[in-house]
């Protein structure tokens, strides 16, 4: 049994609490993240500020440590789960907020024939954290479903994900179809997934390749003109 006194989140100052939440998210402590988020809301913090200064920043560090081989997939998923706890509290507030300005709209989905969605879900979460409205079509998404969602949501970006070598060519099928419909001019396409790389993305004429969730969110901001050099 630890001799350390139990940490009472509500007794921490704002700065201490934000730092503690970053540590907790890194360690995948979901209930603590939900509690910390609620405390900051009760203290009058803007939902957007909580999202950016605690959750997104912590998840960005998780992403960097994953890329550096310090963390592995289970730890990243635990952190994402913890972030979800905070997001569940913030999302309705952000959606109802008059002052909330969307960074842009993104339609994302795992392509047809593929049921893997861990990476895609992480990307969705980071995009939300970056202020995007995310319309997630889920798994096994056909071209008709992508087209329907594009028509309905008028996105600024289309994102496609695949885990399998056998399903990644479907990204090319979708892009070719969009090209035939003359839709690519106004709809940048981002692709990602374990077997996907920059070379493949270039070969199928995708506008951008997201090697990981955090980088994808930054690339998306660049595409819509938020990140200007």
């Amino acid at each position: 049994m630890s001799d350390e006194p139990e940490l009472i989140l509500a007794e921490l100052s704002d700065d201490e609490l934000v730092e503690q939440m970053k540590d907790d998210l890194y360690d995948g402590m979901g209930p603590e993240i939900a509690e910390g988020t609620q405390i900051l809301l009760n203290r009058g913090w803007d939902a957007n500020r909580i999202l950016k200064e605690s959750l997104v920043d912590a998840m960005r560090i998780v992403g960097l440590d994953f890329a550096d081989g310090i963390l592995f997939v289970p730890e990243v998923l635990s952190a994402a789960n913890a972030m979800k706890g905070g997001m569940n509290l913030l999302r309705p507030i952000l959606a109802a907020s008059d002052t909330q300005t969307s960074t842009g709209r993104v339609v994302i989905g795992t392509v047809k024939g593929d049921i893997h969605d861990i990476g895609k879900n992480l990307v969705g979460m980071m995009l939300e954290g970056a202020g995007f409205e995310v319309f997630d079509l889920g798994i096994n998404t056909s071209i008709d479903e992508f087209l329907e969602a594009i028509d309905k949501h008028d996105p600024h970006i289309l994102g496609m994900s695949a885990l399998l070598t056998t399903t990644m060519p479907y990204m090319s099928v979708v892009i070719e179809d969009l090209d035939k419909r003359n839709m690519l001019k106004n709809l940048p396409v981002m692709v990602g997934g374990a077997p996907v790389n920059k070379e493949f993305a270039d070969a199928i004429h995708a506008n951008a390749y997201g090697p990981d969730a955090a980088t994808t969110a930054e690339l998306a901001k660049t595409i819509v003109g938020v990140n200007r050099p």
Binding site: P74, S78, I115, N121, N140, T165, T166, A194, P195, V196
Partner: protein, 190 residues
């Protein structure tokens, strides 16, 4: 002849050795499936280590998430590979494998090797031994576990059933034997 195989197939390659010409078997660790970008370098290392020692080389492994890099290596180094993107198809035949995937896209496969090494190849690398709450994030979209057995082994069958329970998937057992695998390997080796 050199056969380079995934460690998950080593036992099966040896089991059909009497149907093949003389060969040397070299394997890379099956755990590289969790870091597929390291598979092609691992094979390249074996190729470089054995330059000039064999008249030809056969690869006994699927694409395994290399994103086509494995087949590009085959073209560049004049190698032949067993047909199929996944090693499961080596045991079922490509057509039967495709039919099973059409039947249920959310199918998770075990072979004898994977049933035997389920903890080492699945539970521990995915962190499910220490974070069981992640199970549905990994397997929530899967519906069934199909055990493709190469041998009749009651212990492996029990292990495969236990794996299905652990992953909360329905269980099906489809004995494949080694016939399709031996046939395709012999065809490449002929």
């Amino acid at each position: 002849m050199l056969i380079i195989a995934c460690g998950a197939l080593a036992r099966e390659v040896r089991a059909v050795a009497d149907q093949l010409p003389n060969f040397t078997l070299r394997c890379f660790p099956a755990t590289l499936h969790n870091t597929p970008d390291r598979i092609v370098p691992a094979i390249t290392t074996i190729l470089d280590d054995t330059v000039g020692q064999h008249d030809r080389t056969i690869l006994a492994l699927g694409d395994c998430g290399t994103g086509g890099a494995l087949d590009r290596l085959c073209t560049a180094r004049d190698l032949q590979r067993l047909p199929g993107a996944h090693c499961y198809a080596f045991f079922t035949g490509v057509t039967d494998f495709d039919d099973m995937m059409t039947e249920e896209l959310g199918t998770f496969f075990l072979t004898d090797f994977l049933a035997r090494q389920f903890d080492a190849m699945v539970m521990r690398p995915l962190g499910l031994d220490r974070k069981p709450e992640l199970r549905d994030m990994y397997f929530g979209n899967y519906k069934r576990l199909v055990f493709l057995s190469q041998t009749e082994d009651a212990d492996l069958l029990a292990r495969a059933k236990a794996a299905a329970v652990a992953l909360d998937l329905t269980f099906e057992h489809r004995p494949t034997g080694l016939t399709p695998f031996a046939r395709d390997l012999a065809r490449l080796a002929a």
